[in-house]
Amino acid sequence: MHEFDWSSIPNALPFLWDGMLISLEITGSAVLFGILWGTLLALMRLSSITPLSWFAAGYVNLFRAVPLVMVLLWFFLIVPHLLESLFGLSRNKDLRLFSAIVGFALFEAAYYSEIIRAGIQSVSKGQMAAASALGMTYAQSMRLVVLPQAFRNMVPLLLTQGIILFQDTSLVYVSALADFFGAAYKVGDRDGRLVELLLFAGAVYFVICFTASRIVRYYQNKLKTA
C-alpha cells in the first residue's frame, strides 16, 4: 500500500495559488469574451441576412465538432505563428496565456451562442411585436426589450457553462502552462509525490465546482419562484 506524505503541499501553496490565479484569469476572460462573441453569433444566426446566419451556423457547428484539446493545440501553434508573420513579434515571446485565452474564448463562444440563441427564442414573440409597435427599430427592441429578459433567464445556464469552462482550463496542461493543475503536477513530479498532489488537486476542483454549482442551483430555484 502507498505511504502518504503530504508534507510537500504546505510549502508549495504559494506556487499553487499562482496557478489558481492563472486558471481563474483564463476562466474569467474566456467567459467574458465568450459571452460577448457568443451573443453576436446568436444574433447573426437569428438574423434574416442569410450569409450572416450561415457563417454563424458554420462557426458554431465547426467548433462544437472539434475536441477542445485540438482547438488549444491549434492556438498554441498558430497564434504565435500568425503574430510573428503579421506584426513581426519574436517567436520567443511567451504567448501561451494569450493563446489560451483566445482559444478558450473562441471555443466557448460556440457553446454560449447556443445557450443565448435558445434564451432569445424563449422570449415570447409578443415582446418583439410590442417593441416594434412602439416604434423601436430591430436593434433597439433586441437591446432594450428582448436581450435583457433573455439574459435574466439564461444566467443559471451561463454560470453552469462557466463552471464547465473552469474545469476545462486544466487542459492548458498541453501547453505546459502552469495553471492550478499544471502547478500541482509540477510540484508532485519534482518531489516524487504525484499521488498526494493529484489527489489534492482533485479535491480542490471538487470543492470549488461543487460549491459553485450549489450556488447556481439555489439561484435557479429563486428565479423560478420569483
Binding site: 500500500m1 502507498h2 465547426l62 465538432a65 472539434v66 475536441p67 477542445l68 484539446v69 485540438m70 493545440l73 491549434w74 501553434l77 508573420s85 474545469q167 476545462d168 486544466s170 487542459l171 496542461y173 498541453v174 493543475f181 503536477y185 504525484l194 499521488v195 493529484l198 489527489l199 488537486a201 482533485g202 476542483y205 471538487f206 465546482c209 461543487f210 454549482s213
Partner: protein, 245 residues
C-alpha cells in the same frame, strides 16, 4: 507568410520506416474509435443503473447515486484521467498495482483511458436517464403499482421502456462528447488521433497539413455519429411527444 504546403507528406514513409504518415493517422483513428466505443458501452451500462438509482424511493441508494454523479461531474476530466493512470495503481493492493504496472504500457494507457472516459460519461448518462424517468407523468408509476406490479416490475415494464426512447436525443450529444473527450487521453501518451497529430507535426514539420487532417477526421466522426443517431432517433420516437411522429 511563407509556408510550403505539401500534402504529399502523408504518403511518405515515416522516419522509422515501418509505415507511412497516413498509416500513423489511421492507427490513431482506430484507437480513438475503439477507445470511445468501448467506454461508451460501459458508460451506458453504469449510467443506466446509477440513473435508475437516483429515482428510487430508498434514501440510501439515491444518496449513493447522487454522490457518484457529483464526484464525477465536479472533477475535471484531465484530473480524473491522471488519477486513474498515476494514482489508482498506487492505492490498489500491492499485488494488483504491480500487475498493472508490469503489463504492457500500451495496455495500461488504454485501460486507464477507457475506465476514465467510461465513468466520467456514465455520470452524464445517469443524469439523462434520471431526467427521462422524471419527465414521465407520475400517473404512469402509480398505475403500474396499482396494477399490482412490484417496484422493479414497474420500472422494467412501464417506466424504462418509455424513458429509454425519450432520452435518445440527449444521449446523442453525450455520444458525440465521448469521441471529443477521448482526445484528452493523448496527455498520458495514448497514441490516439490527437496524439498522432502532434507526432506528425514533430516528425514532418508540416504542422498545418497534420492538424487539418486530424481536425477533418474528428469532423468525419462527428458527421457519421450524427447521421447514425438521427436514424436511431427516427426509429424510437414516441408518437405524441415533442419531436414525435
Amino acid at each position: 507568410m511563407s509556408y510550403n504546403w505539401n500534402w504529399g507528406v502523408f504518403l511518405q514513409p515515416t522516419s522509422a520506416g515501418d509505415d507511412t504518415y497516413l498509416g500513423w493517422m489511421l492507427s490513431g483513428f482506430k484507437v480513438t474509435i475503439a477507445l470511445s466505443l468501448s467506454a461508451w458501452v460501459i458508460a451506458l451500462a453504469i449510467g443506466a443503473v446509477i440513473g435508475i438509482l437516483r429515482t428510487v424511493p430508498s434514501k440510501r441508494l439515491s444518496g449513493f447515486a447522487t454522490a457518484y454523479v457529483e464526484v464525477f461531474r465536479n472533477i475535471p476530466l484531465l484530473v480524473q484521467l491522471f488519477l486513474w493512470y498515476f494514482v489508482i495503481p498506487e492505492l490498489l493492493p500491492e499485488k494488483w498495482g504491480n500487475a498493472f504496472k508490469q503489463s504492457n504500457p500500451l495496455l495500461q494507457q488504454f485501460l486507464a483511458s477507457m475506465l476514465c472516459l467510461a465513468l466520467f460519461t456514465s455520470a452524464r448518462v445517469a443524469e439523462q436517464v434520471r431526467s427521462g424517468i422524471n419527465s414521465l407523468p407520475p400517473g404512469q408509476k402509480n398505475a403500474g403499482l396499482a396494477m399490482g406490479f412490484t417496484l422493479p416490475q414497474t420500472y422494467r415494464y412501464v417506466l424504462l421502456p418509455m424513458a429509454v426512447r425519450l432520452i435518445v436525443p440527449p444521449l446523442t450529444s453525450e455520444f458525440l462528447n465521448i469521441f471529443k473527450n477521448s482526445a484528452v487521453c493523448s496527455t498520458i501518451g495514448l497514441l490516439e488521433l490527437a496524439a498522432q497529430g502532434r507526432q506528425l507535426v514533430d516528425y514532418t514539420a508540416q504542422p498545418y497539413e497534420s492538424f487539418i487532417a486530424v481536425t477533418l477526421a474528428y469532423l468525419l466522426i462527428n458527421v457519421v455519429v450524427m447521421f447514425g443517431m438521427r436514424w436511431v432517433e427516427g426509429h424510437v420516437r414516441v408518437p405524441g411527444y415533442i419531436g414525435g411522429k
